[in-house]
Each structure stands twice: as structure tokens, then as C-alpha cells.
């Protein structure tokens, strides 16, 4: 399992892995927002938590179609499926690698982009916390979507269509935590809900992903 994780991480960091692409996308989306809504700092600080959450979500989505497709193309996915390691763990490791290479950098980058959008000071802490709790769910749900569409030629767009509705609860609670934190309100309820969703998806969704992957590999 650890060998597989290291392999995925190496592949992502080295040339052609597209490690920085998600971060760059996050940056560009955040920079484009003031151009589209205007530079008033009061307006920007109101929408900053939501925009940052949406940016992180889209950046996460962007990298999903590479999650399994590369392994599918060169046949290593078939090898992994026949390996003694259960496919459920393979899928979980894949999601973990995706989170380490996409989700975690987004979490770390978010405060800096928050400065650009004039995020209120108490908001920084809650933004990081909410993203830290919420992004693993996005990786796990994304892995399910990637497993569903892995064999398809024009899977990329379809993947977005399938995954985005599944992101709705995570986005609602995550952005709610960040928004409430920024305005100094109580954040416990949405944060617990967000953590619950993340925990449940990590516990249950790998089984669905593995089942779907088995169907696709048949």
C-alpha cells in the first residue's frame, strides 16, 4: 500500500504529472473574480469564502480525469486489480494520493488567495480548517466519478456532470463554515456536518468505487 502511494506521489511530482496545474488554476480563478464582479473590497470580502471554496472545488475537479485514466491507458490498472491488494484499498490509496497532491496544496494556498480577495481576518483560520476537513471528501467522491468514467473516450466532461451534483453537500457545509467563520458566527454545526460527510464518504465510497472499477475492468 505504501509502495503504491509512493509510486503515485512520484508520478505526480515528476515531469508530466501536472502537479502544479490545479494550484495554477485555483490562482487564476481567484484572480479573475475581481475582474468579473468589480474591485470593491467590501463586496470581495463578503463573497471571498464562497469563491475560494468554489475555486478549490473546481481545481480539484480539473485533476480528476487524470486520477485513473493514465493507469488505465498503460494497463497498470489491470495489474493493480489482479494484485493481492484488494481493489478497495487501491482506490483509497489513489484518493489519498490525489488529496496529497491536489487537496493539501489547495488548502495551503487558500490563505494567500484569501489576501487577494480581502478575506476578513477571523476567516483565514476557518477557511483553512473547512478546506482541510472538506477536501478529502472531494478526493474520495472524485475517485468514484473517475472510476465510473475510466473507460470512456470522452469521459472528461461527463465526469464533471456526474461529480458536481455529488459535491453539493460538501460545498454547502464547507462554504458555510468559512462564511460563518469570516463573519464571526458560530461554526460548530456545519463543521461537524462537514466532518461527518467526509468521514462517511471515506468509509463507504471506496466500496462503490471498487465495484464500479471491477465492472469497467471486466
Amino acid at each position: 500500500m505504501i509502495a503504491l502511494l509512493l509510486r503515485d506521489l512520484k508520478l505526480a511530482f515528476r515531469a508530466g504529472g501536472g502537479f502544479g496545474l490545479g494550484l495554477a488554476f485555483f490562482l487564476i480563478v481567484t484572480v479573475l473574480v475581481p475582474f468579473s464582479v468589480g474591485p470593491q473590497s467590501s463586496l470581495l470580502s463578503t463573497i471571498a469564502p464562497g469563491v475560494l471554496w468554489l475555486g478549490a472545488l473546481l481545481a480539484c475537479l480539473l485533476s480528476l480525469d487524470r486520477l485513473l485514466a493514465l493507469d488505465w491507458e498503460d494497463g497498470s490498472l489491470d495489474l493493480l486489480a489482479t494484485a493481492p491488494l484488494p481493489l478497495e484499498s487501491v482506490v483509497t490509496i489513489k484518493a489519498l494520493a490525489h488529496w496529497l497532491t491536489t487537496g493539501l496544496p489547495l488548502v495551503l494556498a487558500a490563505p494567500f488567495l484569501g489576501i487577494l480577495l480581502n478575506l476578513p481576518v477571523p476567516g483565514f483560520f476557518w477557511l483553512v480548517i473547512s478546506l482541510l476537513v472538506g477536501t478529502p471528501a472531494m478526493s474520495v467522491i472524485g475517485t468514484f466519478g473517475a472510476a465510473l468514467t475510466v473507460g470512456l473516450k470522452r469521459g472528461g466532461l461527463l465526469l464533471s456532470l456526474l461529480v458536481l451534483p455529488l459535491y453539493v453537500p460538501t460545498l454547502i457545509f464547507g462554504a458555510e463554515v468559512a462564511r460563518r467563520g469570516a463573519t464571526g458566527m458560530e461554526t460548530q454545526t456545519p463543521l461537524l456536518m462537514l466532518a461527518g460527510i467526509t468521514a462517511a464518504t471515506i468509509a463507504l465510497l471506496p466500496f462503490a468505487s471498487a465495484a464500479v472499477l471491477r465492472i469497467n475492468l471486466r
Binding site: 468514484f144 465510473l148 468514467t149 473507460g151 470512456l152 470522452r154 469521459g155 461527463l158 456532470l161 456526474l162 458536481l164 451534483p165 455529488l166 453539493v168 453537500p169 454547502i172 457545509f173 458555510e176 454545526t189 456545519p190 456536518m193 460527510i197 465510497l205 462503490a208 465495484a211 464500479v212 465492472i215 469497467n216 471486466r218
Partner: protein, 257 residues
């Protein structure tokens, strides 16, 4: 395929031939009764009920709105059931039925959304509000779109049936989750369920009940929509079965020719 199910059991209809024969026999009944129910219900509702003292004649859009919304949700539940049956017992008719139902569900969702918007414009003063019920329906619509898109994208029919079934199961959980998340996220304009509440029908709470004048035509419309839905799904499932047969015949011809 296991046709060896017990006689007179529900699983007999898993045999496509048996399904087609029976559905063809009962279809005219469903078409006619649903047409009668919907037409009578709508005409009764539109022309023979009084205008509401507050909402005027706009109230009459419930005769389309409520049944369509009801069927949009029930259609997803039916797809959930047929998907489960496909995954557990692998009856092809079941998978095809859920494929056949999805577009019907999309149309029902659209009718509910559009009639709601048409009613909301004069009553709430806006075509659209991010009310929990409205938002949940929009999300349901997105789920339907994804489901149909996945069916269309995969060439191998059995793989498509498997994948869409799993998507339907996972999607149901997330749709339910979204429903509660959306409730948490925003307080609503939309009234609560006022048709099927016992107190509302019996008139125990006079505040929010749908009064009996409106209730009977509405009930007729709902029955009509249910029958119409059954008819459409049976009909479309038959079409899917025949399309599958044509494909099989063509494949056989190519092999022998």
C-alpha cells in the same frame, strides 16, 4: 436467464417476452384511464373550481405542479428499486425499465420547475428563489441529467446498466444528503406539504389546508399522472426491449452473413 421462477410470481415479468405480452395487454387501459383522469381533472380544476380569494386563478397551476413534482420524486424511487433489482437479480427488463423511466423523470422535474416559476412570478414576485425545495429539485434535475448522460456514453449495454445502477444508488444517498444540506443552508418561501397531510385534508387546521373544492380534482390529476407515468414507462421499456432485439438480430446477421 432464469425463467425458472415460480409460476404467478412477480419475477415472471423478468422474461422480456412475458413482459411485452402483458404490457401490451394492459397498456391501452393505462393510456385511456390516465387520459380520462388528467383531462377530467384538469377541466374540472381549471373551469369548475372557484378562484382563491388571495391567489386568484393562479392557484389552479397546482393541478400540473403537484402531480408532476410527485412523479419526479417517485420516478427516481422507481429507478432506485429497478437498479437494485438489476444489481441483485440481473433481470434485463429491470435495467431497461430504469433506463426508460429516466427521461420521463426529467420531463416531470422540468414541468414542476417551470410551472412553479410561472406561479412564483405573480405570487412571490420572482421567477426563481433559492428556496430549499426549489433548489433540491434543481439538484434532482442535475442527477437525472448525469444518469441519462452515463447511459448514453457507454456502448456495452450490460456495463452501462451496472454503472448507472451504482450511480443511482450512490446518487440517491447524495440527493437525500443534499436535501438536508439545502434545508440547513437557506430558509424557504415554499409552503410545506399541504396536500397529503391528514389534518389538511380533513380540515382540522383551517390555516393551510388545501380545501376540498381543490382537493378532489387535484387527486384525480395525481391519479392520472401516476397512470400516465406507468403507461409511459411500460411503453418505453417495450421500445427498449425491441431496440435491444433489433441489435441482437443485426449482430447475428453480420456473423452469419
Amino acid at each position: 436467464m432464469s425463467i425458472a421462477a415460480k409460476a404467478n410470481s412477480l419475477w415472471e415479468y423478468a422474461n422480456p417476452r412475458k413482459f411485452l405480452a402483458t404490457s401490451e395487454r394492459v397498456l391501452p387501459f393505462f393510456w385511456i384511464t390516465s387520459a380520462v383522469c388528467v383531462v377530467v381533472g384538469l377541466v374540472w380544476g381549471f373551469f369548475f373550481t372557484p378562484d382563491d380569494y388571495k391567489q386568484g386563478s393562479t392557484v389552479k397551476i397546482i393541478y400540473l405542479h403537484v402531480p408532476a413534482a410527485l412523479m419526479a420524486i417517485n420516478c427516481w424511487l422507481m429507478m432506485l428499486a429497478t437498479s437494485l433489482i438489476w444489481l441483485v437479480r440481473r433481470h434485463h427488463v429491470s435495467a431497461l425499465a430504469s433506463r426508460a423511466a429516466a427521461p420521463v423523470g426529467i420531463v416531470m422535474t422540468l414541468i414542476a420547475l417551470v410551472t412553479g416559476a410561472i406561479w412564483g412570478q405573480p405570487m412571490w414576485g420572482t421567477w426563481w428563489a433559492w428556496d430549499p425545495r426549489l433548489t433540491s429539485f434543481l439538484i434532482l434535475f442535475l442527477f437525472y441529467l448525469g444518469y441519462v448522460a452515463l447511459w448514453e456514453a457507454i456502448e456495452d449495454p450490460d456495463t452501462a446498466a451496472d454503472l448507472t445502477s451504482v450511480l443511482c444508488l450512490v446518487g440517491s444517498v447524495f440527493a437525500l444528503l443534499s436535501r438536508y444540506a439545502v434545508n440547513f443552508w437557506n430558509q424557504g418561501l415554499h409552503q410545506g406539504a399541504s396536500v397529503m397531510r391528514v389534518a389538511a385534508v380533513t380540515g382540522a387546521d383551517s390555516e393551510e389546508k388545501v380545501s376540498n373544492v381543490y382537493f378532489y380534482p387535484l387527486l384525480l390529476c395525481i391519479i392520472g399522472f401516476v397512470l400516465l407515468f406507468i403507461a409511459l414507462v411500460l411503453y418505453r421499456t417495450g421500445t427498449e426491449i425491441r431496440a435491444r432485439r433489433i441489435k441482437a438480430l443485426q449482430a447475428r446477421e453480420r456473423v452469419s452473413g
